[in-house]
Point group: C2
Chain length 288, copies 2
Protein backbone atom coordinates (compact mmCIF):
# COMPACT_ATOMS: atom_id res chain seq x y z
CA UNK A 1 0.00 0.00 0.00
CA UNK A 2 1.25 3.45 -0.94
CA UNK A 3 0.28 6.87 0.36
CA UNK A 4 0.00 9.59 -2.28
CA UNK A 5 0.14 13.14 -0.99
CA UNK A 6 0.07 15.15 -4.21
CA UNK A 7 -2.61 15.60 -6.87
CA UNK A 8 -0.05 15.29 -9.66
CA UNK A 9 1.33 11.96 -8.46
CA UNK A 10 -2.14 10.48 -7.97
CA UNK A 11 -3.46 11.67 -11.34
CA UNK A 12 -0.35 10.55 -13.20
CA UNK A 13 -0.69 7.11 -11.65
CA UNK A 14 -4.40 6.74 -12.39
CA UNK A 15 -3.87 7.90 -15.99
CA UNK A 16 -1.35 5.08 -16.36
CA UNK A 17 -3.69 2.58 -14.69
CA UNK A 18 -6.43 3.54 -17.15
CA UNK A 19 -4.03 2.90 -20.05
CA UNK A 20 -3.24 -0.50 -18.54
CA UNK A 21 -7.00 -1.14 -18.42
CA UNK A 22 -6.95 -1.73 -14.66
CA UNK A 23 -10.34 -1.28 -13.01
CA UNK A 24 -10.06 1.44 -10.35
CA UNK A 25 -12.46 1.31 -7.38
CA UNK A 26 -12.63 4.37 -5.13
CA UNK A 27 -13.86 5.05 -1.61
CA UNK A 28 -13.72 8.75 -0.66
CA UNK A 29 -13.70 9.30 3.12
CA UNK A 30 -13.01 11.95 5.74
CA UNK A 31 -11.00 9.37 7.70
CA UNK A 32 -11.58 8.05 11.21
CA UNK A 33 -12.68 4.86 9.51
CA UNK A 34 -15.34 2.60 10.99
CA UNK A 35 -17.04 -0.62 9.89
CA UNK A 36 -19.27 1.33 7.50
CA UNK A 37 -16.20 2.51 5.56
CA UNK A 38 -14.68 -0.95 5.74
CA UNK A 39 -17.74 -2.46 4.10
CA UNK A 40 -17.34 0.07 1.24
CA UNK A 41 -13.67 -0.89 0.93
CA UNK A 42 -14.57 -4.60 0.88
CA UNK A 43 -17.01 -3.95 -1.97
CA UNK A 44 -14.35 -2.03 -3.92
CA UNK A 45 -11.80 -4.80 -3.24
CA UNK A 46 -14.23 -7.39 -4.65
CA UNK A 47 -14.88 -5.56 -7.93
CA UNK A 48 -11.69 -3.59 -8.70
CA UNK A 49 -8.12 -4.35 -9.70
CA UNK A 50 -6.88 -1.30 -7.82
CA UNK A 51 -8.54 0.14 -4.69
CA UNK A 52 -8.10 3.84 -3.89
CA UNK A 53 -9.21 5.39 -0.59
CA UNK A 54 -9.01 9.14 -0.04
CA UNK A 55 -8.70 10.50 3.47
CA UNK A 56 -9.46 14.20 3.55
CA UNK A 57 -11.50 16.26 6.00
CA UNK A 58 -12.99 18.69 3.50
CA UNK A 59 -13.31 22.14 5.09
CA UNK A 60 -15.65 23.32 2.31
CA UNK A 61 -18.52 21.10 3.50
CA UNK A 62 -18.51 22.42 7.07
CA UNK A 63 -20.45 25.59 7.80
CA UNK A 64 -18.64 28.21 9.92
CA UNK A 65 -20.61 27.14 13.01
CA UNK A 66 -19.90 23.45 12.49
CA UNK A 67 -17.45 20.96 13.92
CA UNK A 68 -14.52 21.11 11.45
CA UNK A 69 -11.79 21.64 14.04
CA UNK A 70 -13.09 18.94 16.35
CA UNK A 71 -13.82 16.41 13.61
CA UNK A 72 -12.00 13.23 14.76
CA UNK A 73 -8.73 12.35 13.03
CA UNK A 74 -6.41 9.34 13.41
CA UNK A 75 -4.35 8.77 10.30
CA UNK A 76 -2.13 6.06 11.81
CA UNK A 77 -5.17 3.95 12.65
CA UNK A 78 -6.82 4.68 9.27
CA UNK A 79 -3.63 3.62 7.50
CA UNK A 80 -3.57 0.35 9.42
CA UNK A 81 -7.23 -0.36 8.64
CA UNK A 82 -6.70 0.38 4.93
CA UNK A 83 -3.70 -1.91 4.83
CA UNK A 84 -5.70 -4.70 6.47
CA UNK A 85 -8.59 -4.04 4.05
CA UNK A 86 -6.40 -4.60 1.01
CA UNK A 87 -6.34 -0.97 -0.14
CA UNK A 88 -3.68 -0.24 -2.78
CA UNK A 89 -3.43 3.54 -2.50
CA UNK A 90 -4.43 6.15 0.04
CA UNK A 91 -4.80 9.66 -1.38
CA UNK A 92 -4.04 12.00 1.51
CA UNK A 93 -3.77 15.62 0.34
CA UNK A 94 -3.40 18.88 2.25
CA UNK A 95 -5.86 21.77 2.28
CA UNK A 96 -3.32 23.98 0.46
CA UNK A 97 -3.21 21.45 -2.36
CA UNK A 98 -6.97 20.97 -2.69
CA UNK A 99 -7.93 24.64 -2.30
CA UNK A 100 -4.95 26.79 -3.27
CA UNK A 101 -5.15 30.55 -2.83
CA UNK A 102 -7.67 32.09 -5.20
CA UNK A 103 -9.65 28.86 -5.55
CA UNK A 104 -13.05 29.78 -7.00
CA UNK A 105 -14.73 26.87 -8.84
CA UNK A 106 -17.68 24.87 -7.51
CA UNK A 107 -20.03 22.13 -8.62
CA UNK A 108 -23.61 22.69 -7.53
CA UNK A 109 -26.65 20.44 -7.71
CA UNK A 110 -29.86 22.44 -7.49
CA UNK A 111 -33.27 21.26 -6.20
CA UNK A 112 -32.10 17.94 -4.63
CA UNK A 113 -30.04 19.99 -2.17
CA UNK A 114 -32.88 22.33 -1.12
CA UNK A 115 -34.38 20.18 1.65
CA UNK A 116 -33.25 17.90 4.47
CA UNK A 117 -29.53 18.35 5.25
CA UNK A 118 -29.23 21.09 2.62
CA UNK A 119 -31.78 23.21 4.46
CA UNK A 120 -30.20 22.80 7.90
CA UNK A 121 -26.60 23.01 6.66
CA UNK A 122 -26.43 25.77 4.03
CA UNK A 123 -23.44 25.37 1.72
CA UNK A 124 -22.80 21.81 2.86
CA UNK A 125 -23.63 20.13 -0.43
CA UNK A 126 -21.77 22.71 -2.50
CA UNK A 127 -18.72 21.56 -0.53
CA UNK A 128 -19.55 17.88 -0.94
CA UNK A 129 -20.17 17.97 -4.69
CA UNK A 130 -17.10 20.11 -5.32
CA UNK A 131 -14.71 17.86 -3.39
CA UNK A 132 -16.18 14.67 -4.83
CA UNK A 133 -15.90 16.01 -8.37
CA UNK A 134 -12.27 17.01 -7.74
CA UNK A 135 -11.49 13.58 -6.28
CA UNK A 136 -13.17 11.78 -9.19
CA UNK A 137 -11.06 13.85 -11.60
CA UNK A 138 -7.89 12.99 -9.69
CA UNK A 139 -8.54 9.28 -9.02
CA UNK A 140 -10.39 8.66 -12.33
CA UNK A 141 -12.15 5.60 -10.91
CA UNK A 142 -14.36 3.23 -12.88
CA UNK A 143 -16.64 3.13 -9.86
CA UNK A 144 -16.91 4.89 -6.54
CA UNK A 145 -18.67 3.55 -3.44
CA UNK A 146 -20.79 5.55 -0.98
CA UNK A 147 -22.86 4.63 2.07
CA UNK A 148 -26.63 4.89 2.24
CA UNK A 149 -26.39 6.43 5.73
CA UNK A 150 -25.83 9.78 4.01
CA UNK A 151 -28.86 9.23 1.78
CA UNK A 152 -29.17 12.76 0.43
CA UNK A 153 -25.43 12.89 -0.25
CA UNK A 154 -25.66 9.63 -2.21
CA UNK A 155 -28.61 10.95 -4.23
CA UNK A 156 -26.91 14.30 -4.90
CA UNK A 157 -23.61 12.72 -5.98
CA UNK A 158 -25.39 10.22 -8.22
CA UNK A 159 -27.27 13.12 -9.82
CA UNK A 160 -24.11 15.18 -10.31
CA UNK A 161 -22.23 12.33 -11.92
CA UNK A 162 -25.15 11.60 -14.23
CA UNK A 163 -25.78 15.26 -15.16
CA UNK A 164 -22.10 16.10 -15.74
CA UNK A 165 -21.45 12.83 -17.62
CA UNK A 166 -18.59 11.88 -15.30
CA UNK A 167 -17.13 8.58 -16.50
CA UNK A 168 -17.60 6.85 -13.13
CA UNK A 169 -20.29 4.54 -11.80
CA UNK A 170 -21.70 5.42 -8.37
CA UNK A 171 -22.56 2.52 -6.07
CA UNK A 172 -24.51 3.06 -2.88
CA UNK A 173 -24.25 0.40 -0.16
CA UNK A 174 -26.55 -0.30 2.77
CA UNK A 175 -25.90 1.40 6.08
CA UNK A 176 -23.80 -0.67 8.47
CA UNK A 177 -25.17 -0.68 12.04
CA UNK A 178 -24.04 -1.56 15.55
CA UNK A 179 -25.74 -4.61 17.08
CA UNK A 180 -28.38 -2.35 18.67
CA UNK A 181 -29.19 -0.65 15.38
CA UNK A 182 -27.22 2.60 15.69
CA UNK A 183 -25.86 3.60 12.27
CA UNK A 184 -22.05 3.65 12.17
CA UNK A 185 -20.66 7.17 12.07
CA UNK A 186 -17.35 8.82 12.88
CA UNK A 187 -19.34 11.19 15.08
CA UNK A 188 -20.55 8.39 17.40
CA UNK A 189 -17.30 8.65 19.41
CA UNK A 190 -18.59 11.95 20.82
CA UNK A 191 -21.64 10.38 22.46
CA UNK A 192 -21.65 10.12 26.25
CA UNK A 193 -22.67 6.77 27.75
CA UNK A 194 -26.24 8.01 28.24
CA UNK A 195 -26.51 9.49 24.75
CA UNK A 196 -25.12 6.27 23.29
CA UNK A 197 -27.86 4.31 25.03
CA UNK A 198 -30.57 6.57 23.64
CA UNK A 199 -29.17 6.86 20.08
CA UNK A 200 -30.53 3.50 18.80
CA UNK A 201 -34.04 4.91 19.17
CA UNK A 202 -33.47 6.76 15.90
CA UNK A 203 -33.39 3.46 14.08
CA UNK A 204 -36.32 2.16 16.11
CA UNK A 205 -38.37 5.15 14.99
CA UNK A 206 -37.41 4.46 11.36
CA UNK A 207 -38.29 0.80 11.75
CA UNK A 208 -41.65 1.81 13.16
CA UNK A 209 -42.37 3.74 9.96
CA UNK A 210 -41.19 0.85 7.80
CA UNK A 211 -43.38 -1.62 9.67
CA UNK A 212 -46.41 0.62 9.36
CA UNK A 213 -45.89 1.36 5.68
CA UNK A 214 -44.66 -2.00 4.41
CA UNK A 215 -46.18 -4.65 6.63
CA UNK A 216 -49.34 -3.01 7.89
CA UNK A 217 -49.79 -1.18 4.58
CA UNK A 218 -50.70 1.96 6.50
CA UNK A 219 -52.29 4.39 4.11
CA UNK A 220 -53.50 7.38 6.08
CA UNK A 221 -52.02 10.49 7.55
CA UNK A 222 -48.24 11.05 7.37
CA UNK A 223 -48.58 13.51 10.25
CA UNK A 224 -49.60 10.59 12.49
CA UNK A 225 -46.47 8.58 11.63
CA UNK A 226 -44.38 11.70 12.08
CA UNK A 227 -45.94 12.30 15.47
CA UNK A 228 -45.40 8.74 16.67
CA UNK A 229 -41.76 8.74 15.56
CA UNK A 230 -41.19 12.09 17.19
CA UNK A 231 -42.79 10.86 20.43
CA UNK A 232 -40.60 7.76 20.46
CA UNK A 233 -37.42 9.82 20.03
CA UNK A 234 -38.44 12.51 22.51
CA UNK A 235 -39.05 9.78 25.09
CA UNK A 236 -35.24 9.61 25.37
CA UNK A 237 -34.00 12.35 27.65
CA UNK A 238 -30.65 12.96 25.89
CA UNK A 239 -32.29 13.53 22.47
CA UNK A 240 -32.32 17.30 22.80
CA UNK A 241 -33.59 18.40 19.40
CA UNK A 242 -35.17 16.87 16.32
CA UNK A 243 -33.89 18.82 13.28
CA UNK A 244 -36.29 16.96 11.01
CA UNK A 245 -38.19 13.76 10.36
CA UNK A 246 -39.03 13.68 6.67
CA UNK A 247 -40.76 11.53 4.05
CA UNK A 248 -39.34 12.04 0.54
CA UNK A 249 -39.37 10.46 -2.88
CA UNK A 250 -36.23 8.30 -3.02
CA UNK A 251 -35.08 9.59 -6.44
CA UNK A 252 -36.10 13.22 -6.62
CA UNK A 253 -36.08 13.85 -2.84
CA UNK A 254 -39.35 15.74 -3.26
CA UNK A 255 -41.21 15.80 0.02
CA UNK A 256 -44.18 13.46 0.25
CA UNK A 257 -47.14 15.05 1.96
CA UNK A 258 -49.71 12.37 1.20
CA UNK A 259 -49.32 8.62 0.99
CA UNK A 260 -51.97 8.54 -1.71
CA UNK A 261 -49.53 10.17 -4.13
CA UNK A 262 -46.81 7.69 -3.27
CA UNK A 263 -48.15 4.42 -4.58
CA UNK A 264 -45.66 1.94 -6.05
CA UNK A 265 -42.80 4.23 -5.20
CA UNK A 266 -39.69 4.12 -3.05
CA UNK A 267 -39.91 6.40 -0.06
CA UNK A 268 -36.91 7.71 1.86
CA UNK A 269 -37.72 8.29 5.53
CA UNK A 270 -34.89 10.28 7.07
CA UNK A 271 -34.18 12.13 10.27
CA UNK A 272 -31.60 14.27 12.00
CA UNK A 273 -31.49 14.49 15.78
CA UNK A 274 -29.19 16.33 18.16
CA UNK A 275 -27.86 14.76 21.32
CA UNK A 276 -26.41 17.86 22.92
CA UNK A 277 -23.65 18.97 20.54
CA UNK A 278 -23.63 15.69 18.62
CA UNK A 279 -25.87 15.63 15.57
CA UNK A 280 -26.81 12.21 14.17
CA UNK A 281 -28.61 11.35 10.94
CA UNK A 282 -30.19 8.11 9.79
CA UNK A 283 -32.71 6.90 7.22
CA UNK A 284 -34.60 3.91 5.90
CA UNK A 285 -35.92 3.14 2.42
CA UNK A 286 -39.46 1.89 2.07
CA UNK A 287 -40.86 0.15 -0.99
CA UNK A 288 -44.58 0.62 -1.56
CA UNK B 1 -14.64 11.01 -40.23
CA UNK B 2 -17.51 9.83 -38.07
CA UNK B 3 -20.40 11.71 -36.53
CA UNK B 4 -21.32 10.66 -33.00
CA UNK B 5 -24.77 11.66 -31.83
CA UNK B 6 -24.95 10.02 -28.42
CA UNK B 7 -23.06 10.65 -25.21
CA UNK B 8 -22.68 6.92 -24.57
CA UNK B 9 -21.12 6.17 -27.97
CA UNK B 10 -18.68 9.09 -27.67
CA UNK B 11 -17.63 8.27 -24.11
CA UNK B 12 -17.24 4.57 -24.83
CA UNK B 13 -15.02 5.41 -27.78
CA UNK B 14 -12.83 7.88 -25.91
CA UNK B 15 -12.44 5.44 -23.00
CA UNK B 16 -11.08 2.93 -25.50
CA UNK B 17 -8.82 5.54 -27.12
CA UNK B 18 -7.39 6.36 -23.68
CA UNK B 19 -6.63 2.65 -23.12
CA UNK B 20 -4.88 2.58 -26.50
CA UNK B 21 -2.85 5.59 -25.34
CA UNK B 22 -4.01 7.71 -28.26
CA UNK B 23 -3.65 11.45 -27.68
CA UNK B 24 -7.08 13.08 -28.01
CA UNK B 25 -7.25 16.74 -29.08
CA UNK B 26 -10.59 18.52 -28.74
CA UNK B 27 -12.14 21.66 -30.22
CA UNK B 28 -15.56 22.48 -28.74
CA UNK B 29 -17.63 24.77 -31.00
CA UNK B 30 -21.16 26.04 -31.52
CA UNK B 31 -20.79 25.31 -35.22
CA UNK B 32 -21.01 27.72 -38.17
CA UNK B 33 -17.26 27.27 -38.42
CA UNK B 34 -14.94 30.03 -39.64
CA UNK B 35 -11.20 30.42 -40.04
CA UNK B 36 -10.81 30.96 -36.32
CA UNK B 37 -12.20 27.50 -35.60
CA UNK B 38 -10.15 26.03 -38.45
CA UNK B 39 -6.95 27.35 -36.89
CA UNK B 40 -7.92 25.60 -33.62
CA UNK B 41 -8.56 22.39 -35.54
CA UNK B 42 -5.20 22.71 -37.32
CA UNK B 43 -3.46 23.03 -33.95
CA UNK B 44 -5.27 19.95 -32.61
CA UNK B 45 -4.42 18.04 -35.79
CA UNK B 46 -0.74 18.88 -35.34
CA UNK B 47 -0.51 17.63 -31.74
CA UNK B 48 -3.09 14.84 -31.41
CA UNK B 49 -3.56 11.31 -32.70
CA UNK B 50 -7.33 11.75 -32.73
CA UNK B 51 -9.13 15.06 -33.29
CA UNK B 52 -12.61 15.59 -31.85
CA UNK B 53 -14.80 18.58 -32.71
CA UNK B 54 -18.12 19.14 -30.95
CA UNK B 55 -20.85 21.10 -32.67
CA UNK B 56 -23.52 22.13 -30.21
CA UNK B 57 -25.36 25.43 -29.79
CA UNK B 58 -25.59 25.41 -26.00
CA UNK B 59 -28.91 26.96 -24.91
CA UNK B 60 -27.66 27.29 -21.32
CA UNK B 61 -25.20 30.07 -22.20
CA UNK B 62 -27.80 32.29 -23.85
CA UNK B 63 -29.84 34.60 -21.64
CA UNK B 64 -33.60 34.69 -22.33
CA UNK B 65 -33.25 37.98 -24.23
CA UNK B 66 -30.36 36.72 -26.35
CA UNK B 67 -30.03 35.36 -29.86
CA UNK B 68 -30.29 31.58 -29.34
CA UNK B 69 -32.98 30.97 -31.96
CA UNK B 70 -31.28 33.11 -34.59
CA UNK B 71 -27.77 31.81 -33.89
CA UNK B 72 -26.48 30.70 -37.33
CA UNK B 73 -26.40 26.97 -38.08
CA UNK B 74 -25.14 25.03 -41.12
CA UNK B 75 -24.22 21.48 -40.22
CA UNK B 76 -23.63 20.33 -43.81
CA UNK B 77 -21.03 23.04 -44.33
CA UNK B 78 -19.49 22.41 -40.88
CA UNK B 79 -19.20 18.72 -41.66
CA UNK B 80 -17.43 19.46 -44.93
CA UNK B 81 -15.01 21.86 -43.26
CA UNK B 82 -14.23 19.33 -40.51
CA UNK B 83 -13.59 16.63 -43.08
CA UNK B 84 -11.23 18.92 -44.97
CA UNK B 85 -9.52 19.86 -41.73
CA UNK B 86 -8.69 16.26 -40.88
CA UNK B 87 -11.12 15.90 -38.00
CA UNK B 88 -11.68 12.27 -36.90
CA UNK B 89 -14.94 12.63 -34.96
CA UNK B 90 -17.70 15.21 -34.72
CA UNK B 91 -19.73 15.03 -31.53
CA UNK B 92 -23.17 16.37 -32.43
CA UNK B 93 -25.66 15.82 -29.61
CA UNK B 94 -29.24 17.01 -29.15
CA UNK B 95 -30.54 19.29 -26.39
CA UNK B 96 -32.58 16.41 -24.94
CA UNK B 97 -29.40 14.40 -24.56
CA UNK B 98 -27.30 17.15 -23.02
CA UNK B 99 -29.99 18.52 -20.71
CA UNK B 100 -32.55 15.80 -20.05
CA UNK B 101 -35.64 16.61 -18.02
CA UNK B 102 -34.80 17.38 -14.42
CA UNK B 103 -31.24 18.41 -15.26
CA UNK B 104 -29.91 20.38 -12.26
CA UNK B 105 -26.09 20.32 -12.00
CA UNK B 106 -23.83 23.26 -12.82
CA UNK B 107 -20.18 24.20 -12.68
CA UNK B 108 -19.58 27.76 -11.56
CA UNK B 109 -16.43 29.87 -11.46
CA UNK B 110 -16.78 32.75 -9.05
CA UNK B 111 -14.94 36.13 -9.17
CA UNK B 112 -13.48 35.77 -12.71
CA UNK B 113 -17.03 35.80 -14.05
CA UNK B 114 -18.14 38.94 -12.17
CA UNK B 115 -16.99 41.56 -14.68
CA UNK B 116 -16.88 42.10 -18.45
CA UNK B 117 -19.13 39.62 -20.31
CA UNK B 118 -20.30 38.12 -17.01
CA UNK B 119 -21.72 41.46 -15.92
CA UNK B 120 -23.53 42.18 -19.19
CA UNK B 121 -24.69 38.60 -19.75
CA UNK B 122 -25.81 37.19 -16.39
CA UNK B 123 -25.78 33.39 -16.35
CA UNK B 124 -23.70 33.20 -19.52
CA UNK B 125 -20.59 31.74 -17.91
CA UNK B 126 -22.54 29.27 -15.77
CA UNK B 127 -23.75 27.89 -19.11
CA UNK B 128 -20.28 27.93 -20.64
CA UNK B 129 -18.48 26.22 -17.77
CA UNK B 130 -21.22 23.61 -17.38
CA UNK B 131 -21.26 22.61 -21.05
CA UNK B 132 -17.46 22.61 -21.33
CA UNK B 133 -17.14 20.41 -18.24
CA UNK B 134 -19.73 18.00 -19.64
CA UNK B 135 -17.94 17.88 -23.00
CA UNK B 136 -14.56 17.32 -21.36
CA UNK B 137 -16.05 14.41 -19.40
CA UNK B 138 -17.52 12.92 -22.56
CA UNK B 139 -14.57 13.44 -24.94
CA UNK B 140 -11.88 12.90 -22.26
CA UNK B 141 -9.30 14.84 -24.29
CA UNK B 142 -5.63 15.19 -23.40
CA UNK B 143 -5.88 18.80 -24.52
CA UNK B 144 -8.59 21.16 -25.64
CA UNK B 145 -8.11 24.27 -27.79
CA UNK B 146 -9.89 27.62 -27.38
CA UNK B 147 -9.59 30.99 -29.12
CA UNK B 148 -8.29 34.13 -27.45
CA UNK B 149 -11.13 36.14 -29.02
CA UNK B 150 -13.30 35.03 -26.11
CA UNK B 151 -10.63 36.10 -23.62
CA UNK B 152 -12.73 35.89 -20.48
CA UNK B 153 -14.11 32.51 -21.55
CA UNK B 154 -10.57 31.21 -22.04
CA UNK B 155 -9.52 32.51 -18.61
CA UNK B 156 -12.62 31.10 -16.91
CA UNK B 157 -12.29 27.66 -18.51
CA UNK B 158 -8.57 27.50 -17.70
CA UNK B 159 -9.41 28.35 -14.10
CA UNK B 160 -12.18 25.76 -13.89
CA UNK B 161 -10.00 23.00 -15.29
CA UNK B 162 -7.18 23.89 -12.88
CA UNK B 163 -9.47 24.21 -9.83
CA UNK B 164 -11.42 21.01 -10.51
CA UNK B 165 -8.28 19.04 -11.44
CA UNK B 166 -9.72 18.03 -14.80
CA UNK B 167 -7.16 15.83 -16.57
CA UNK B 168 -7.04 18.01 -19.69
CA UNK B 169 -4.62 20.72 -20.81
CA UNK B 170 -6.22 23.96 -22.03
CA UNK B 171 -4.54 25.71 -24.95
CA UNK B 172 -5.51 29.22 -25.96
CA UNK B 173 -4.66 30.34 -29.51
CA UNK B 174 -4.40 33.85 -30.92
CA UNK B 175 -7.46 35.45 -32.46
CA UNK B 176 -7.69 34.97 -36.23
CA UNK B 177 -8.66 38.17 -38.08
CA UNK B 178 -9.93 39.26 -41.46
CA UNK B 179 -7.45 41.22 -43.60
CA UNK B 180 -8.81 44.48 -42.21
CA UNK B 181 -8.43 43.37 -38.59
CA UNK B 182 -11.99 42.30 -37.73
CA UNK B 183 -11.89 39.29 -35.40
CA UNK B 184 -13.48 36.19 -36.95
CA UNK B 185 -16.84 35.39 -35.38
CA UNK B 186 -19.90 33.40 -36.37
CA UNK B 187 -21.90 36.54 -35.64
CA UNK B 188 -20.14 38.59 -38.36
CA UNK B 189 -22.58 37.21 -40.95
CA UNK B 190 -25.27 39.41 -39.40
CA UNK B 191 -23.46 42.66 -40.14
CA UNK B 192 -24.88 44.87 -42.88
CA UNK B 193 -22.42 46.23 -45.46
CA UNK B 194 -22.11 49.50 -43.52
CA UNK B 195 -21.67 47.81 -40.15
CA UNK B 196 -19.07 45.49 -41.65
CA UNK B 197 -17.10 48.51 -42.84
CA UNK B 198 -17.17 50.08 -39.39
CA UNK B 199 -16.47 46.91 -37.38
CA UNK B 200 -12.67 46.88 -37.92
CA UNK B 201 -12.47 50.06 -35.84
CA UNK B 202 -12.77 47.85 -32.73
CA UNK B 203 -9.38 46.35 -33.48
CA UNK B 204 -7.98 49.77 -34.38
CA UNK B 205 -9.02 51.06 -30.98
CA UNK B 206 -7.32 48.08 -29.32
CA UNK B 207 -4.19 48.64 -31.38
CA UNK B 208 -4.18 52.26 -30.30
CA UNK B 209 -4.06 51.10 -26.65
CA UNK B 210 -1.32 48.61 -27.40
CA UNK B 211 0.78 51.20 -29.18
CA UNK B 212 0.41 53.65 -26.35
CA UNK B 213 1.18 51.14 -23.61
CA UNK B 214 3.88 49.05 -25.27
CA UNK B 215 5.71 51.31 -27.68
CA UNK B 216 5.21 54.76 -26.22
CA UNK B 217 5.33 53.35 -22.68
CA UNK B 218 2.39 55.52 -21.74
CA UNK B 219 2.12 55.61 -18.00
CA UNK B 220 -0.59 58.07 -17.04
CA UNK B 221 -4.33 58.11 -16.87
CA UNK B 222 -6.31 55.05 -18.04
CA UNK B 223 -9.36 57.28 -18.41
CA UNK B 224 -7.54 59.13 -21.22
CA UNK B 225 -6.89 55.91 -23.16
CA UNK B 226 -10.46 54.83 -22.54
CA UNK B 227 -11.73 58.16 -23.83
CA UNK B 228 -9.63 58.06 -26.97
CA UNK B 229 -10.70 54.50 -27.80
CA UNK B 230 -14.31 55.36 -27.16
CA UNK B 231 -14.05 58.41 -29.42
CA UNK B 232 -12.51 56.36 -32.22
CA UNK B 233 -15.32 53.78 -32.07
CA UNK B 234 -18.10 56.34 -31.73
CA UNK B 235 -16.79 58.07 -34.85
CA UNK B 236 -18.36 55.17 -36.76
CA UNK B 237 -22.05 55.81 -37.24
CA UNK B 238 -23.19 52.15 -37.10
CA UNK B 239 -21.50 51.49 -33.73
CA UNK B 240 -24.64 52.12 -31.70
CA UNK B 241 -23.53 51.22 -28.18
CA UNK B 242 -20.31 50.50 -26.32
CA UNK B 243 -21.11 47.90 -23.63
CA UNK B 244 -17.63 48.28 -22.16
CA UNK B 245 -14.00 49.08 -22.80
CA UNK B 246 -12.00 47.56 -19.97
CA UNK B 247 -8.43 47.15 -18.70
CA UNK B 248 -7.93 44.00 -16.62
CA UNK B 249 -5.19 41.83 -15.21
CA UNK B 250 -4.73 39.02 -17.74
CA UNK B 251 -4.77 36.22 -15.14
CA UNK B 252 -7.17 37.31 -12.42
CA UNK B 253 -9.28 39.59 -14.64
CA UNK B 254 -9.26 42.14 -11.82
CA UNK B 255 -9.93 45.60 -13.24
CA UNK B 256 -6.89 47.83 -13.49
CA UNK B 257 -7.63 51.37 -12.43
CA UNK B 258 -4.09 52.68 -12.41
CA UNK B 259 -1.15 51.84 -14.65
CA UNK B 260 1.21 52.34 -11.73
CA UNK B 261 -0.13 49.13 -10.15
CA UNK B 262 0.33 47.20 -13.39
CA UNK B 263 4.11 47.16 -13.86
CA UNK B 264 5.64 44.02 -15.39
CA UNK B 265 2.23 42.51 -15.86
CA UNK B 266 0.09 41.33 -18.73
CA UNK B 267 -2.93 43.52 -19.31
CA UNK B 268 -6.05 42.40 -21.12
CA UNK B 269 -7.74 45.27 -22.94
CA UNK B 270 -11.19 44.15 -24.04
CA UNK B 271 -14.34 45.66 -25.42
CA UNK B 272 -17.89 44.84 -26.45
CA UNK B 273 -19.74 47.00 -28.93
CA UNK B 274 -23.19 46.75 -30.44
CA UNK B 275 -23.86 47.42 -34.10
CA UNK B 276 -27.62 47.51 -33.99
CA UNK B 277 -28.65 44.02 -32.87
CA UNK B 278 -25.21 42.52 -33.52
CA UNK B 279 -22.90 42.51 -30.53
CA UNK B 280 -19.19 42.08 -31.20
CA UNK B 281 -16.36 41.52 -28.72
CA UNK B 282 -12.61 41.77 -29.17
CA UNK B 283 -9.46 42.13 -27.08
CA UNK B 284 -5.72 42.54 -27.12
CA UNK B 285 -3.06 41.45 -24.64
CA UNK B 286 -0.41 43.92 -23.62
CA UNK B 287 2.87 43.04 -21.94
CA UNK B 288 4.32 45.72 -19.68
Amino acid sequence: MKILRTIASAQKLTTQLRIKNKVIGFVPTMGYLHNGHLSLIREARKKADIVFVSIYVNPLQFAPNEDLSRYPRDFIRDEMLCRKGGVDYIFYPSNEMMYPEGYSTYAIVEKLTDGLEGKIRPGHFKGVTTIVLKLLNIVQPHFSVFGQKDAQQAAVISKMVRDLNVNTKIKVLQTVREADGLAMSSRNVYLTKEQREDAPFLYRALQFAKRKLELENYNKDIAFLHGQMSKLIKSRKTATKIDYISFNDYETLREISSLKNAKNSKILVSLAVRFGKVRLIDNIVIKR
